[in-house]
Symmetry: C2
Subunit: 509 residues, 2 copies
């Protein structure tokens, strides 16, 4: 290698047929033609999606083996790729947009959301700075404020869109670390004798992203205290107070509390207002600022329904709050909104402006200062289209429908002689398990095996997809409602399927 | 609030007109109709994009003021939103897909890439686990391996798609921290007397994401050493060796070196092979493992052209390498690929599997274990479509065209009596400034002001968009080529525009 070649690197490339390779993009008229075909494919896909197997019924490696080992040398016609999408890839797709997808949290990539993504890709703006697309920044500011209003949250919260709740929570805890005024940004956490052990409190039901954020930020997994919950799986405030005081006695400094509105396993709701009051009390007592972050990634959206808005009581006292339109607001992955009360703390944690990113623009928001990522997709566009297309009342009515459907499923489980409901259903997820009358003496190991078998059998039919969790040592099945195509009829069919597969376990003949 | 209400929260909601609000998604036939309109809008947009002002010519707050303060209560027709996109938002869009976008790094959201995003949004899968869409995982594994082959990198590198190079570099340095075997994952960085001060080395020309990663990971900004560069803005290996040895003498432990292939200001290329050799030598001498990460976010892609592949010499000895298809591989934002030699180190840094994410699937890749984010878009699909549509030779030819165009622009600047080129042009970015013959005695302050004025004047025309940086205290203008619509004719027009605006500075009449 001769670095002097750097100014003359083109050498003598073999000439290519320009008619074949060209130098430009897909021609706009070809784009129009292929684009219409893609839209038609999607319209057909969404029409018939309920007849596809929701959980992919393929073995590991099967899809990969059907794909060429290397890239094509020559260009390939676009319709060939669309054909391979259908024939090669679709059998290995687990259909998250399916009416019988009830695993994890059920979601929807809605029509207006899909078209929003299309437009975002066409504009292809990077909203790192206000200047690099003023509309991207100002629409983001506006649309996250619309969402704030939809959730009944007070003025004064400022929002930013990130890719996922994992990122939002990491960002929030980085702000918490900055708010501790320990000069961690400059000196790091290993500064000798000057940084105490910092601890983070959350419940045993909290999402693993809290742990992952603590690990990533260098606080360490041991820094996370998983506080006990009550019988409803909500954080036990007395246990939280005891945990903080015990740690302080050991020389730790409480950095943050993460409360959850809609936990991953059961959608339980931590008592945020009580936690906020305790945070204030402990902060005064200990003379430190304790950051309160609220994870409402899924559950926050029920606050669109006024009668369910109580779940966000106390969030107005939090320092930060995350909720994900890509979970239960019909917006395609990815779209998470992080709200903060004091953006200055967040930007103090993250802002870095090299010369090549200076602009001289004043009084503007440069969202690159609000987190890790410099490159930022124009995600606000799809959220704007979703909110406009459904409207505030239409969105609330859809959330309400899902909650009602979940209650119906819970009632059905409750009434079934061989099933039991294991947790309240405050939102749209039912936690239940088989506990058959015909196995009255079954111990936990037998019930675990039985429920895993039931789950596998249901999922293997391709007619519905459920997931599982564990509650107090009991294997628990989860049925989450959240897809806009889940009709009452289809839900009934899923419940019947569960009943049928359970019956078959008793009588395998 | 009565938490006991959690099981009966629906109350008595006011009934809505189901014909107006419905409970489902946009009807598939309506989707087809609106989708065709969106595709047509994009085809027209891409046809005429070159006539729009590339840099948005609006004042701060202007776009936000034109948007309603609150969300609509009732649903709104989809065409209304499309009209507002055109009338309200477009004036505030800086057009990154524009043929005369030459700021930062020029990019393309290509036709196949746009349609890939559309399909990704429709499928709306979350590829967190293999099981949650086997095709998402196996296509990602395959397509990043295709890209590895396209770049001439050796077997044995495994790749993962992230959103941005900032995230990829953060992820790589988290793996470096894990590889140091200091139990940081569990105990954090503040473990007393057991974690030494960890230092990270990169050049003065490195991207700010290296600094941001060090801050985020708790290493602290002071941990980053910015090593001097040579006259070509490439990292000075002797200075690197001296910096590491000086730090070790002070009790620091060198954690990682970040080399850059295509720096942000000048696209200079650090001598990766020499750096790798030094890394080995220092590692043996000091008895520690020093991680080598290579940032080829933009520049890595020139290796698609065999005659330019030397830029990646030595990358085969790196522990990790990032390159961004969303920068110079015509893939819409966001798409960054992080390669690692030892995925086990990466997953040891990040893997956390709560009960609700266990699957029992064996021998599969669960990409949630490879980084911070749990929720993961199906980004491989657009990259697959881009590579297939253009083909390996077509992609290389396009990169080659951009390099040739940049050389032409550099030669023009070099030949202009009032301009000077300030750095080599190994890739597709030209660094230059005005240094007019008619101001022979101008000092650096005058030249700074003059060049900023020239930049503002060019950008204010809306006919081209350039950015700036600083090199050795000299304000430098940057013209980056990378959009597929940049014809030779349009580039000529941009160069003439620069010449005209410069001439007007001499003779304002």
């Amino acid at each position: 290698m001769d670095p002097c070649a750097a100014n003359d690197p083109t050498g003598d490339p073999a000439p290519l047929d320009p008619a074949q390779f060209g130098t430009g993009d897909m021609d706009p008229e070809a784009f129009r033609q292929h684009g219409h075909a893609v839209i038609d494919w999607i319209a057909d896909y969404l029409t018939d999606i309920g007849e596809r197997p929701v959980l992919a019924q393929v073995a590991p490696g099967e899809i990969g083996a059907a794909l060429p080992a290397g890239p094509p040398r020559q260009p390939e016609p676009f319709p060939d790729a669309l054909r391979d999408l259908e024939q090669v890839l679709l059998p290995g797709i687990t259909h998250w947009n399916h009416p019988a997808f009830h695993a994890y949290f059920a979601i929807t990539g809605s029509g207006p959301g899909i078209l929003g993504e299309t437009l975002t890709a066409a504009l292809n703006v990077n909203g790192m700075l206000w200047r690099t697309s003023p509309s991207a920044t100002e629409l983001e500011e506006r649309v996250v404020d619309w969402l704030r209003q939809l959730l009944g949250l007070p003025d004064g919260l400022r929002g930013v869109i990130t890719d996922s709740a994992s990122s939002s929570t990491l960002t929030a805890l980085a702000a918490a670390r900055e708010a501790a005024d320990l000069d961690v940004r400059r000196r790091g956490l290993a500064a000798r004798d000057e940084v105490p052990r910092l601890t983070v409190y959350t419940s045993t039901q909290a999402h693993s992203s809290v742990d992952k954020a603590a690990i990533t930020l260098g606080l360490g997994h041991d820094a996370v205290r998983h506080v006990a919950t009550d019988a409803r799986y909500a954080l036990d405030v007395a246990a939280l107070a005891a945990a903080v005081r015990a740690d302080v006695a050991e020389g730790c400094r409480p950095l943050a509390i993460v409360a959850t509105v809609g936990t991953t396993s059961t959608t339980s709701v931590d008592p945020v207002a009580e936690i906020a009051a305790l945070r204030d009390e402990l902060g005064d007592e200990l003379g430190v600022r304790i950051w309160l972050h609220v994870d409402g990634a899924y559950g926050g959206m029920v606050a669109l329904c006024e009668e369910l808005r109580w779940v966000l009581d106390g969030v107005e006292q939090a320092d930060s709050f995350v909720t994900n339109p890509h979970k239960w607001l019909f917006t395609p992955i990815d779209c998470s909104v992080l709200y903060v009360r004091d953006p200055a703390t967040l930007t103090r944690a993250f802002s870095l402006v090299p010369e090549y990113l200076t602009t001289g623009d004043e009084g503007v928001t440069d969202y690159m200062d609000w987190g890790v990522q410099l490159g930022r997709r124009f995600r606000a566009l799809k959220l704007w289209l979703v909110i406009r297309y459904f409207g505030a009342e239409g969105l609330a009515e859809r959330i309400r429908t899902h909650v009602t459907q979940a209650h119906r499923a819970a009632a059905w489980c409750q009434g079934h002689p061989d099933l039991e409901v294991l947790a309240p259903t405050p939102m749209s997820t039912v936690c239940f398990r088989a506990r058959p009358q015909w196995l009255p003496a079954a111990d936990e190991d037998e019930l675990r095996a039985l429920n895993h078998t039931l789950l596998e059998r249901v999922n293997a039919t391709g007619r519905a997809y459920l997931s599982h969790t564990e509650l107090d040592g009991r294997t628990t099945l989860r049925l989450a409602v959240g897809n806009l195509r889940t009709t009452d009829e289809r839900l009934t069919e899923t419940l019947q399927l569960i009943g049928r597969e359970l019956a078959a376990l008793r009588d395998p003949g």
